[in-house]
Amino acid sequence: MRFVDPRPHHDCQVLVIGSGAGGATTAAILAEAGHDVLIVEEGPWVEQGSVVPFSLEQMDRQYRAGGVTVALGRPSIAYTEGRCAGGGTEINSGLYRRPSEGTLERWRRQTTIADFTDDEFYAACDEIEIALSVQTVPGRHTPASERLRDGAAALGWAHDEIPRWMSYPAGGDASTGKRESMTRTFLPRAAAAGAAMLVEHRVERIVRDRDRAFRAELTGPEGQPVTVDFDVVVVCGGAIQSPALLQRSGWRGLVGKGLAVHPTVKLSARFDAPVNVVDDVPVHQVKEFSPDLSFGGSASQPGLVALSLSDHWPLMRDAVTSWRDIAVYYAAITSEGRGRVTAVPAMRDPLVTYRLTGRDRALLGQGLARLALVMLEAGALEVYPSFRDAPIVRKRADLADATAMFRAATASVMTVHLCSTVPMGEDRTRAATDSMGRVHGAENVYVNDASLLPDAPGVNPQASVMAIAMRNARRLAERLT
């Protein structure tokens, strides 16, 4: 990577803020089209492989706020964001799924996105899949993944393996994969085409003259003020940071209002043999109830197992010693609720709120119970649902107690898929940017990340984020030439 030395002032043609799935893609496309690109990233550059995936060290170095931030509501929803070069792509599960044609059609209609064709979108997916070597596991899966698959199969429920952006050595199995994250793919591509990168610099504000922005005000690693002047700025900080930055810079309106997530509830399951793989996650998902409900496996290193047992610690703590036989799983829903991101003066992080609907709450309960049933069918000896005072489930009859006691308000609800806070489209009553991500009411300010999706895709969103980023970056490259 071509890192720029810290200086008080930088100039560039295009400033890309953020280097995750949206920002890295944007930077590579624009640089390859011959534009002068500077990428600014708040977090550090951490080489893939230098920290253990899903470890506490990784949380500390590569996640925002040490791993967990919270959207307030009843219940509050914990969420995680990457804060490093490559953003979320460095730390997530690497699961890749194209959104359906139905989803694309829904998006097109919802905010009236112009010139948004399936052909162009899926052609971008084709490119991304090659660039990230998206594939299924060539050899054996992890035991936790196989258990989920077997449980679903025993119930006759639809399930499949989600491909990942991973490369494997010849004859390798699930544990040998190397994540083809942005620091290994699109960021080097951007650098090869001449893009420069400034890490550990946080953008505080974009300075504007009426509708035209011209400068970004940053804070450097030592707390020093830094400025960057640009012709065009593309904000790719993710669905929380992008709207917060726009709001701090004076663009409000619909910005930050439509936060969409896939709320998830968790459980852990103890089997009669080791299933825990500390540095990998299952790749199977149960799709029987898709898109309303999806079940999959979560990171399960010992600390996270303990965390999942903490909702009823006195009852469940003894299980911790068997953590090798335990894996954590989630039930995710497509939510009808919406949330809001609001920048608060003098506060570093925005206020995030999210409101689940009655249907969402009921679905979380039904999802958790169905997931527990999958676990029993997979041979789990004990299932530990993650809600306050939850009972241990050992047999089907126990599910009646668990379902009777479940309240969404006391569940540990979390999410990793955040989107839709700056939706794109021509309909200004619903969209905050035009159909290519240019902020309504701004001449040269673009957004190009998960914020643009009109709602949550119901599947792992990185394919959607990158394909839209690629499309919009190409349009922008043409416009700038």
Binding site: D292, A362, L363, R370, A397, L399, T403
Partner: protein
Amino acid sequence: MTPALRPHPAATIVTGAAGWLGTALMHALTAPASPWHREGVIRPLVTNRVEADALRALGERIEPVIGDLTSPATLVPLGAGLTGVVDVLHTAGVIHPRTIADFEAINTGGTMAMLALAEQIGARRFVHVSSNSPFGTNAHPGDRFRNDEPYHPYFGYGRSKMHAELAVFDAVERGLDAVIVRPPWFYGPHQPPRQTTFFTMVRRGKFPIIGRGDQMRSMVYVDNLVQGLVRAELVPTPAGRGWWIADARPYAITEIVETVGRALTAEGFEVTPNRTRVPALVGRVAEFADGVIQRTGRYQQQIHVLGEMDKTIACDIEVARIELGYDPEIELYEGMRRSIRWCIERGLEL
């Protein structure tokens, strides 16, 4: 391919034979023109002499036994002196009881007593009629219960029917060949008076549609249920299986009310268009009240039914189609017309 059926048993024991489903089943097993007509002894369990006499009229091989599910000694004659293959069709149950204690005593205790009897006489197969209630309600109108679902019992009835299912699985563990059919809300001839009230409410335009009315309900026409029940008896599946037995698809509440209205009109009734909409809140209040009342050991039918009316209870019958060859022939409109005609023939006021 439709699975082949085993030969009829030499004797069939039918509990709840004077009930809604039981009566329909007895007719189906004995009427010469019925596709489910069978030879051999049939021993229906009834609660009194009037019911026994009515069933005896169906033929000499019908040997009613007057007994009480909560008193196992009274059930012994059901199995006495039978030779050859015996099947047990356990349709008895209480859905709107006097007190909550009746739920467990009859639905759970009665099932355990019948399971013990079936084990004693070495029954070929025991078919237990369960319900949707052990599984609660769907989270939203688009959801469908799959064949296998986690238990989430709906109040006292649901708990007692769940306990009955668990007793069936225990018996299977002990070696009994028992299976379960799970019908949702049923309709059709031989209906009890509360269903007549339903027709009357619809005819007067007074059926309370709670909320948007898009909540879905699986229903089963009683003859469809008879088909599913007999197939569950005669198809040689593994023991311990359970199947949803319902009409081909669930119906929206608004569709149910509209279809019943059409059926009544077609049968010559004057039907007032239904405009009785009730805010969703009323359903939630009724559900809450139902819970409070049931915790005190009592039961209030109207409150219970109202509390359930804003819920989706919808199931998927695909596995029954595949494993049993179950094919529900009657849909809502035709089923309701037959049901209304049955009421008219019996001079019931709608």
